[in-house]
């Protein structure tokens, strides 16, 4: 099963403005369909236990239900523009390709609900749809904010202003929908494949970006059981050091804000200091949340950790965006706080996985890295290390080409090497 994205990002302001009202009939129909799907799923469970494979009519019914739910939520959350069909037929700009019924291991069928619990944690933070199976208290954290909800909320304002959906927000929503669809398909026995949380493979081809703050992941997936078990305690000295450094960083950020407002560019030493702080923050959180394996150093040195942050040299920034930086950063900060919740779930699941298998699952690691990158970009934006707004969607990152000096006339610059394969297994 995979998500197919053919949306062109164009939006009509009229339909965007009334999106929630237009989506209402589809939501009502989804609830009715969900009641039917509940009973069909139970019959399907018994049938699959006996046959070892879902009967085709039941499989098709449930597959259509999952597809329709995806269409509806894609429409509601502005990941797609046209109204969906009521019958869950393929062809929508945010669509699902679902394979036919296959044989399934009966043991995994018997214990499907239990096996789906870890994925339920993730889907709850991503979309909140896990609350349908009584995880509403967990969803209630942060006032019920979810990745999907926040991205749709901010996307609404963006689309109203520009008559286009922001690519990052659209891709983020698509990723959340893809995971939710995989979860429901797995739970309802439409698929026997465990949901993959890897944002790099969830929505098809990804954009290649050269942001001024970018992350590179060279981490192996091996984990030491000893350091996994004691991860929280081992990170404690780093957290104390990070808090102390954070006090200084806050003061430095205030000085940086005033300096940048006056000069239009950060002083070199403040840029370097704050970049090191943001990098150290990334190293520590990567270690704490098990996205990285080795114990990080205490100075945030570039190239010292396999989950690393690269920061481009300082650049001139628009003084208006500097003046209102905290106001502008508010949406990103809100989204980053939900990404932090996601990281917590990644850490809990990764802790168990690391203890039992001495490895971090690739999907979880990449999801954690994705969340870390967004949080780091947000920190860098808030601290005026960069003027570039955090990119919320999954993407492939390549180093920025070195700036070419204006004078004297430089020799021809060789083409940069081909971008490395991102976030290898």
């Amino acid at each position: 099963m995979r998500l197919i994205l053919s949306d062109d990002l164009e939006r009509s302001r009229g339909t965007v403005f009334f999106r929630a009202i237009f989506a209402l009939p589809f939501l009502i129909w989804l609830v009715v369909w969900a009641i039917g799907a509940f009973f069909v799923a139970f019959v399907n469970w018994i049938a699959t236990l006996f046959e070892g494979k879902s009967p085709t009519p039941l499989h098709d019914f449930l597959a259509r239900f999952v597809r329709f739910a995806t269409h509806t939520y894609a429409y509601l959350s502005l990941a797609a523009e046209p109204l969906p069909a009521f019958d869950g037929k393929p062809g929508y700009p945010v669509d699902l390709e679902i394979a036919g019924p296959v044989r399934q291991n009966r043991w995994t069928v018997v214990f499907r609900i239990v096996l789906a619990l870890p994925a339920l944690l993730l889907v709850t933070v991503l979309t909140g749809s896990g609350s349908l199976v009584n995880a509403s208290r967990f969803t209630g954290q942060l006032g019920g904010y979810t990745i999907l909800g926040l991205a749709a909320f901010f996307g609404w304002f963006y689309a109203m202003a520009k008559a286009r959906m922001a690519r990052g927000l659209r891709d983020l929503i698509a990723f959340a929908l893809s995971y939710a669809a995989q979860f429901w398909a797995y739970l309802l026995l439409v698929s026997d494949r465990y949901p993959s949380s890897d944002p790099l493979t969830a929505i098809g081809p990804l954009p290649t970006r050269s942001d001024p703050v970018w992350m590179d992941v060279r981490d192996e997936l091996r984990r030491s059981r000893l350091t996994v078990f004691f991860r929280l305690a081992l990170a404690f000295p780093h957290l104390v050091w990070l808090a102390l450094w954070g006090v200084l960083a806050l003061l430095a950020a205030i000085v940086n804000w005033i300096s940048t407002l006056i000069a239009g560019i950060s002083p070199q030493w403040l840029h370097r200091f704050l970049a090191a702080y943001v990098r150290y923050q990334l190293h520590v959180t990567a270690f704490l949340y098990l996205v990285g394996n080795p114990f990080p150093g205490f100075v945030g040195a570039e190239g010292s950790y396999p989950i690393d942050l690269h920061v481009a040299p300082r650049e001139r920034q628009n003084r208006w965006t500097v003046l209102f930086r905290l106001v502008l950063a508010w949406p990103a900060l809100l989204l980053a706080s939900v990404f932090n919740q996601l990281l917590l779930v990644v850490a809990v699941l990764g802790w168990f996985a690391g203890l039992f298998t001495a490895r971090m699952p690739l999907g979880l690691r990449n999801l954690g890295a994705f969340a870390l990158r967004y949080v780091a970009q947000t920190s860098a934006y808030v601290f005026l290390v960069t003027g570039a707004y955090p990119y919320s969607g999954p993407c492939l990152e390549v180093p920025r080409p070195e700036p070419v000096p204006a004078a004297p006339v430089p020799p021809p610059v060789p083409a940069p090497p081909a971008p490395p394969a991102q976030w290898p297994a």
């Binding site: 350091t227 000295p237 080795p294």
Partner: protein, 407 residues
Amino acid sequence: MAGLTRRLPRPPQAVAVFAVAVLWVWAAHALWDSTALPSLDLPHLDPHRFFSDSFLHRSATFERFLAIENLLASVTLVAVLVVYARRGHRLVRESAAGRVGTGVLLAMLGFAVVWLAEVPFGLVALWWERRYGVSHQGYLPYLVGSFLGLGSKFVFVCLGFAIVMGLAGVLRRWWWLAAMPAFVGLMLLSVFVSPYLIPETSSVHSPTLQAEAKELERIEGSGSARLRVQDVHRFTTAPNAESTGLGPSNTIILWDTLLHDGFNRSEVRFVVAHEIGHLAHEDPLKRIGWLALFLIPAFGLMAFFTRSRGGLGRPEAVPVALLVLVVVQLLATPLLNVAFRRQEAAADWAALQATREPATDKAVMHQLAVKSLSDPDPPSWIYAVYENHPTIMQRIGMADAWEAQRP
């Protein structure tokens, strides 16, 4: 044999070691003499005169089990650290933190392994204390609290090893000479701030007790100290008190089990007088002095035994250093206990002088023994290895001796 010869100190070094040893003995003697205690001929009292047979049997059983269990825990600790000293250096690959950071990681992992090895013993001890009604802490809260407590322990481990490894990187084999003042400074800081870090404490609300404490401070000649109550009754029934802090942070902590569980006013007053005695004698500072004295051989041995791994500047040497540190600590504990018992006896004497109530002293000791299920006259080996206070019978004997000397 050749290797052993190579390890033996050369003559100039031997002279230096000898000079340090002489200085050490002189300092230890001076520190010992600084705690004034009249030469008393304490009578050997029969505990059966003060305690029932059933209590003596019950307390002896209770304490002996804990002592043996503690001994087994120490043996396990050393065994685990021997294994860690041999294999721990492989964990270097789990670090991207450079030389010092990797050493810090290995030190923390060493303590983590020790925690894992000691948890079963801790649970057995808790089970035993619960069985005898001395503790009512749950097993899960104990485990969770102990695990989370590792975090704060790791901060200090991190700081300590960062200093040692940083110095070893610069001073090579002579790091320990520079580390001594740094660690004494850290210990001073730690004792100074410790009253503010003790959890669940509050002010003593009784104005009478506050006034009595002030009067005792005047009599015993100590500086002013804060009087605080620590809420511990949820975990234990045992009564206790302690004095901590330095100068302006001097604090006397009374457990709430002491205030609300059968001790009358004059008994509490006697306990406060004992703690003020500690502050008047500057015992917190002297304890740092004793610990600093024992750090000298500990650091010297650490420097000596880590040479085969390239010295303590190398992270691979940290597991060996941990083993040496723990072994020296285990060996030093009985010796330190001798010094600490002397301080406790001097504080008892000061309390007797201040309150002039030997009967209250005896009543306090009786209550302490009964409520803590403490063996009033433990076997010699338990006394030597684990007791950092005089035995209950010795303390009762001191009250008798004071009474006999009273003009």
